[in-house]
Symmetry: C2
Subunit: 112 residues, 2 copies
DNA sequence: ATTATATATCGCAAATATACGATAATAAAA
DNA sequence: TTTTATTATCGTATATTTGCGATATATAAT
């Protein structure tokens, strides 16, 4: 049991779900805010501000990387992370499309 | 270990994360699409279309209920579910605010 | 009253996610 | 070259999510 059934759904809904999952922890939203607010994005500064251990922050950064929401470059002793605006805006548009789709389809209905 | 640290973050980021979590499975996005596309929202029709067992669909519906994204009323032998537009639009606005916040803060920066 | 139908809940198994200490890897500094 | 500093990864413990069969619950139909 508990076999993964996510592949049974449309690619669009899978993509939306993956984005939502990347956003589904307040630590990751907080990291995005921190990255957006800094000119130079250094991982160490993130760890200092976050109420989590270094290993945990690194793990959250990795998930944001996998989702494509941030970019990371190794810069000598430090690592530099910043928001990947290309995919970020794409995701934003995709979510607005979802919200729009739902509202337009159901706009002339009164249910429940 | 693995104690929940979510309370250490701001209420806004917790709320956004909770919404994102509700959206973080393609089955739940698919359910929202189905509810939006139907005039009368009957749970049975959802189960028929979804590639999941009845018990699993019922569980996903419960999670959408908990997140406030849908409303449900017991209607005789059947249950009627539909989208809760009030909270839904609120959530949409909140997400757009997040995206907007991040972009405005970082609009004049070129990093990485 | 019995049967059939629709949905929710329980209990369990498996998979993922969360969190952190310890350690590895890498580069700057001494 | 040894030390120090920064970040990633490994291993592990625990918590949560996902999925479903079985069962409970409640109404409609017979």
């Amino acid at each position: 049991m508990a076999i993964n059934k996510k592949e049974a759904f449309t690619p669009i809904d899978q993509k939306l779900a993956d984005l939502a999952k990347a956003m589904s922890h307040p630590a990751r939203i907080a990291i995005l805010r921190i990255l957006a607010a800094h000119n130079s994005c250094i991982c160490g500064e993130i760890v200092e501000v976050m109420p989590l251990a270094q290993a945990t922050v690194s793990q959250h950064l990795k998930e944001l990387l996998n989702a494509g929401l941030i970019k990371g470059t190794v810069d000598g002793k430090k690592s530099c992370y910043c928001i990947n605006w290309d995919t970020f805006k794409d995701f934003n548009a995709e979510f607005n499309t979802l919200f729009g789709d739902l509202q337009i389809i159901a706009s002339n209905q009164s249910c429940c």
